[in-house]
């Protein structure tokens, strides 16, 4: 229970369904604020209080559990080191993978619980072949992507009451009807441990700044920056380039090279990616039987799934989209779907450009 309306309604539905429910608010950040100052980030003391009051209304016990140390090690430290390695991490995936459905789930099972219930918009469908994870009914709110990192073992102990709800508006109306004070509370977005949304500033504090070069694909220096970790493939803003492009068109970050503290830029067309692959992967159920199959690939939480061919070996998953993908950053997660079903995911290690360098 984050203090948000989704988890509050999820808890309410779980209680109504007859389950024995205990509300838990995760204390993940020691540096949390007291009052909610906006909809960025989570979870201030006020958020914890909102969660507590929702639990009070539902008549369920409420606890605040401290996973801040695990969170620091598994999520925050990973976030920093990924950026330092020139990759773009997805901390929400790591949190689901290591904290919410691992550390928390492990503790829950030890304490006699059967499942972790959250307000995620996703659907679990039991079949003869096992549990399947599917998109939520509301495509706009679908969060199956961030759950794509869950394994069959983890899924067996999860419960998502909101998955089949047609829309967020319905959830809010239900919250209102139930008398939950958080019914109209704005959704939080951005990274929960960077409440002011200034990721670059936050990273600069952790990693420091170091002046480096911005170069084009031919290696010519076209500008400078204060730390390669502040840039992500596909980024356009924040590039202070002294030399305009020959064609006058805007330039985008194509690559981040942390070792030389260099950022490579080029035209938008150069962002086109014809293949992605990675060695860290998991399946949301049984592993696929075929080594090669058609699927849809989604590389961001709210981007369109793209039809693709997947190639699975023991060491890696390789995906070739039917049409080139735009601005794919190593470190991002690629989630594979078949229809609405989540097959699994991999962390993107390698990308292959669709455009030759001298074009």
């Amino acid at each position: 229970m984050s203090g948000g309306v989704d988890s509050a309604v999820a808890a309410a539905r779980a209680v109504e369904a007859g389950h024995d429910v205990v509300g838990v608010h995760l204390a993940l950040s020691r540096a949390g604020g007291t009052l909610r100052t906006g909809s960025r980030g989570c979870c201030t003391i006020e958020d914890a209080l909102d969660a507590r009051r929702a639990a009070d209304l539902l008549g369920i016990p409420f606890y605040v559990w401290d996973f801040s140390e695990r969170f620091r090690e598994d999520v925050i430290a990973d976030f920093v080191s990924e950026y330092q390695a020139g990759r773009t991490p997805n901390p929400c995936m790591r949190c689901n993978e290591k904290i919410k459905f691992a550390a928390l789930l492990d503790r829950a099972i030890e304490l006699g619980f059967d499942a972790v219930c959250t307000g995620h918009y996703a659907t679990l469908i039991p079949t003869d072949a096992g549990l399947e994870l599917h998109r939520a009914a509301d495509n706009a709110k679908d969060q199956s992507y961030v759950l794509g990192v869950l394994t069959a073992d983890q899924l067996a102990h999860t419960y998502f009451p909101l998955g089949t709800t047609p829309s967020k508006a319905v959830v809010r109306a239900e919250a209102e009807a139930r008398g939950l004070s958080v019914a109209q509370k704005p959704d939080s977005h951005d990274i929960c441990f960077i409440p002011d949304g200034d990721t670059r500033g936050w990273l600069a504090e952790k990693v420091g700044t170091a002046t480096g070069e911005v170069v084009d694909r031919s290696g010519a220096v076209v500008g400078s920056h204060e730390g390669a970790h502040a840039f992500t493939v596909g980024q356009r803003r924040g590039l202070k380039l002294g030399v305009p492009a020959a064609d006058g068109k805007p330039r985008f970050v194509l690559e981040v090279r942390p070792v030389s503290n260099t950022v490579v830029v080029g035209p938008k067309e150069a962002l086109a990616t014809r293949e992605i692959s990675g060695g860290r992967f998991s399946w949301a159920g049984a592993a696929p039987e075929d080594a090669e199959f058609s699927c849809d690939v989604q590389i961001r939480a709210h981007s369109e799934p793209e039809p693709a061919r997947a190639f699975v070996s023991a060491d890696e998953v390789r995906v070739v989209p039917d049409r080139p993908l735009d601005g794919v950053a190593p470190g991002q997660t690629a989630v594979l779907y078949v229809g609405t079903r989540v097959l699994g995911q991999f962390t993107i290690d390698r990308t292959v450009s669709a455009v030759p360098v001298d074009a």
């Binding site: 608010h25 204390a27 949390g32 003391i45 605040v64 492990d106 099972i109």
Partner: protein
């Protein structure tokens, strides 16, 4: 059936204290008003003050009613600091004090005070020799009479004597000692020079069966202490604000009752507590009683459960209807590892694995039985060695 073993956090309101409060609340009148109604309220208030002074063994004028232990401690420390002699800027503070002390002194340090920390022994007892060594030239010193987490009883008489000899004003935090130990302000102060030695002592009502919201700071006649709350001349100008007559009446009643049953309760609680500790150590051989084994508050059992997550233990006990505490303050919603346990020389991990059980007036053998029935399984689960069957 709930079993409450967290009396150190708070204890049930005594019926007599409630009745005293209700009776007093029937009358209307601000004790500072000059008219008849005010005089009636004032009479009740001053009777309560005299009754409290009799139990605490001080002069009535030395009893300053406050809103509780935290306010008393804040008033004492900030008050002594603000009124300190020119040229003194050091504060002597042992390392295992309550957060009301720690946080207040932290703020004073930020405002220019110099902290002279005094270590505690592994039992949490204050090192009296180092305490005495740190005193000369200090602006003030503070110490717990008994440690609220570990239960260990300090030698308050020795600490007060050291302060008198070193010519330093001393504040004693008697919040957790009240009702369990004999406390004589006069006796502890002895013949210390004016404004020096023991000059202030904090007590809280809800620890002895008075309502939450009333306590007292005993302030020696000659103490030099500035007020925190300003806005009226009440209580020697040391604590402005309309006085809580009903609270004072309830507090005085609770004080008298607590003192009258103190010796018999000490015997009763200690016996139950010893059975609790023996029973836990038998069922959980890895567990360890922390704090002094003999010089400890009669109802206190402070136990380390190695490898167990304190939060999980509390949860499992709570689910079994048993209320206990980790004894650590909640900062920003996250239970911090106890600074007291760490000051006792334990690791941060150990500091997260400690439970405090504390008995009180309404504790019975059934409470002990309940803990003993639940503790082994709770420990197994909370230390990750439970049967967590995940397919």
């Amino acid at each position: 059936m709930r079993h409450y073993l967290d009396h150190a956090a708070t204890t049930p309101l005594r019926p007599e204290a409630r009745d005293a409060w209700l009776d007093a609340s029937e009358m209307v009148g601000n004790a500072s008003s000059t008219h008849g109604a005010g005089q009636d309220a004032r009479r009740l208030l001053e009777e309560a003050r005299e009754r409290s002074a009799a139990v605490l063994d001080c002069d009535p004028i030395e009893v300053v009613f406050t809103s509780g232990g935290t306010e008393s401690i804040n008033l004492a420390l900030q008050g002594l600091w603000q009124a300190r002699p020119v040229g003194t800027d050091a504060i002597v503070m042992p390392e295992a004090e309550h957060h009301a002390t720690v946080d207040t002194i932290e703020a004073l340090v930020a405002a220019g005070a110099v902290l002279r920390a005094v270590p505690v022994f592994r039992t949490a007892a204050i090192d009296g020799r180092v305490f005495a060594d740190q005193l000369p030239g200090a602006a003030l010193a503070t110490a717990l009479v008994a440690n609220n987490e570990a239960g260990t009883i300090n030698d308050a008489a020795e600490l007060a004597s050291s302060a008198a000899q070193a010519l330093v004003p001393l504040h004693l935090d008697a919040v957790s000692a009240l009702g369990h130990l004999p406390l004589s302000f006069r006796g502890l102060r002895g013949d210390a020079p004016d404004a020096l030695g023991l000059v202030a002592m904090s007590v809280a009502g809800h620890k002895i069966g008075a309502p939450v919201g009333v306590g007292a700071l005993v302030v020696a006649r000659t103490a030099r202490l500035s007020a925190l709350l300003r806005g009226g001349a009440q209580q020697r100008g040391l604590r402005a604000g309309t006085q809580d007559v009903a609270g004072a009446a309830a507090f005085a009643t609770a004080l008298e009752l607590a003192e009258s049953e103190r010796e018999s309760e000490t015997t009763r609680l200690a016996a139950m507590r010893d059975r609790l500790v023996d029973g836990i150590l038998t069922r959980v051989p890895q567990a360890e009683l922390l704090g002094d084994s003999s010089r400890r508050l009669p109802g206190n059992a402070h136990i380390l459960f190695p490898g167990a997550v304190g939060e999980s233990l509390l949860f499992l006990l709570d689910t079994a209807g048993i209320a206990a505490s980790t004894g650590s303050a909640c900062q920003a919603g996250v239970a911090e590892p106890s600074h007291v346990v760490m000051a006792m020389g334990r690791s941060e991990q150990d500091a997260r694995s400690v439970l405090r059980f504390s008995l009180g007036r309404t504790s019975t053998d059934a409470d002990i039985d309940a803990v003993l029935a639940a503790i082994a399984d709770a420990y197994a689960r909370a230390s990750g060695s439970g049967s967590a069957a995940r397919s």
